[in-house]
Amino acid sequence: MEVFSFLADGIFLALQPVNLALILIGVTVGLFIGAMPGLGSVNGVAILLPITFLVPPASAIIFLAAIYYGAMYGGAISSVTLGIPGASTAVATTFDGRPLALQGRASLALVTAALASFVGGTVATVFFTLFAPLLASVALNFGPPEIFALMLLAFATFVGLGGDDIPKTIFSICFGLVLATVGFDTISGAPRLVLFDIQGFIRGIGFIVLAIGVYGIGEMLWTIEQTRGEITTTNPKMTAKGLASDAKEAVQRGWKGTWIGSILGFFVGVLPAAGATPGSLMSYGVAKIISKTPHEYGNGSPDGVAAPEAANNSASTGAMLPMLTLGIPGSPTTAILLGGMVIWGLTPGPRLFLDESEFVWGLIGSFYVSNVAAVLINLAFIPLFVWMLRMPFTILAPLIFVLSIIGGFAASRSMHDLWMIVIFGLGAFFLRKFDYPLAPAVLAIVLGPIAEPTLRQSLLLSSGDPSIFFIRPIAGPITVIAIILILLPALKLLRRNGRVS
């Protein structure tokens, strides 16, 4: 009961006029920053951090958390309307959000994303309220072998995303993972894979470079070439009645993905070093695996939008947990929030809940209020985002190219990366012509920097014995499930081939 009393105080604090105004501004700013390709919550939080010194610490963290929430909602907007995942957390949203937009159901995709995000955020906040200290101690038991097993599980779920051509899917995964190793060896510090000795590669290849190249340039070229210049833009009409009908359909067709994403996303988000991206990818994969209609995934399934969106919001709240209770940031954004807390004179760690209970419960209360504010503001702006899709394609296409290039530069500040975006875009166009699935490569470049160091640290712990992934109580079952999932499509294919012959 004590928890509910603290929570009521926290919500009351979040509803104070100053804090409420900060939540509304933060969510709106975050929504638009998140919707811009190349910019994400980390940019918004980093840029607006100095402003927070003008208000008390509790209001400051509420403001930053509201930006974080808004940006998580906003990530889906560019995935659906432009087909470019603006942040790694929204990659999986593109798989079904973009096909829905191309079918003239952009409003359904955006409403599904908003509602799923709301449920994901709320479920995670409830878990956070009830089990914060317990979950933090469980998360501490996740060492390198467990995190690597989790990454293996994430890869396993997206072996099935690449369609039937397994060699091409495996090529795509390996390619993405190799690209992630370009730059420096993070353990020895030695330069590694500086391709053709071009110095620009020393900085590595960021996820956003490959994602913008593949989705912003390659996919657009493919669409223009396939439709032979006669692109029929969708003509979605937005009315209050239409929005209500989409909301009803989103609930009916996206509830399963929403619940999978909400629960799985939170538990993956809680783990240090995992975060919202693996959470959203795994939720998409799991939702597809257990769906009765997996063939609808990738062709515009509301469940395929709901699962990653619920998961990335849920995981964002989950990622706050190790930050507050252990002082371990689970994502770049929470790392900046952690920095802010230290500057405000707060010490994250197990004693924070005791020593600064007003601050902590004010923050938890603001999660609830921010979530409600974010879903209402997001729904209010959906007609504006859908209106963008009513533009003639010959106006929309150059706008997408411009946003891709300028967003790519904003993310990396390097001309080398701009050229890489163009090269990846042209390469992706030709690979797509020959049915190479490119989503696994984009996902692999995101997860590679987590997977490699944890694999190497695990093998160092076991003196090179790979059985470490099987004998530890948490890593073992996860590894076995991952291996079964990897082998499942191959076995299905063999069985089908056997039947055909």
Binding site: V402, I421, F429, F434, G464
Partner: protein, 167 residues
């Protein structure tokens, strides 16, 4: 399509071998006391890429993939023309950034695409091509405080004027 697929597999296989060779500049095996070497992860993944290429080529030889069973050309003249004009436009856009600044390149690219590819009217073309760079300038330089490339020195008076407005 059939010839294109095997040519692409050949290029990708060569690239995989290059990546294996490049990865081997760092140790690719297990170093006692230090764990797997720096080249371990990329080397074995590049080998995975190469083996995938071998399997794709095997499937091609048996006509298993749609492209390997197709006698159609990769693209017809219209397709090539479209890709050259649009893809070439994007390449030109990026090439212009260090010369006329990011905002200048946005303006010229919009002008090219809207007027010459989209066949839109001059008022619409000029309106969008001139307004978009200003909007992007205020968003990136003003609100987000992210500086974009400013091109050669001749663009400086424009930037001096714009910075006077936002600061």
């Amino acid at each position: 399509m059939r010839q294109g697929e095997i040519s692409l597999v050949g290029v990708l296989a060569l690239f995989s071998i290059y990546l294996m060779w490049k990865s081997a500049e760092l140790p690719i095996g297990y170093i006692p006391g230090q764990g797997p070497g720096g080249g371990f992860w990329p080397f074995w993944l590049s080998l995975g890429m190469l083996l995938s290429c071998v399997r794709i080529a095997w499937n091609w030889s048996r006509g298993k993939s749609p492209a390997s069973a197709s006698d159609q050309p990769l693209m017809d003249a219209f397709g090539w023309r479209t890709v050259m004009l649009v893809g070439g436009g994007v390449v030109g856009f990026v090439a212009l950034v260090p010369i006329v600044s990011m905002y200048g390149a946005v303006c010229l690219f919009m002008l090219y695409y809207l007027r010459f590819l989209g066949r839109h009217s001059w008022p619409l073309t000029l309106g969008l091509a001139l307004m978009l760079p200003f909007a992007l300038f205020f968003f990136f330089e003003g609100a987000m405080q992210i500086s974009m490339p400013q091109g050669l020195p001749f663009t400086q008076p424009f930037f001096d004027l714009m910075y006077d407005i936002i600061y």
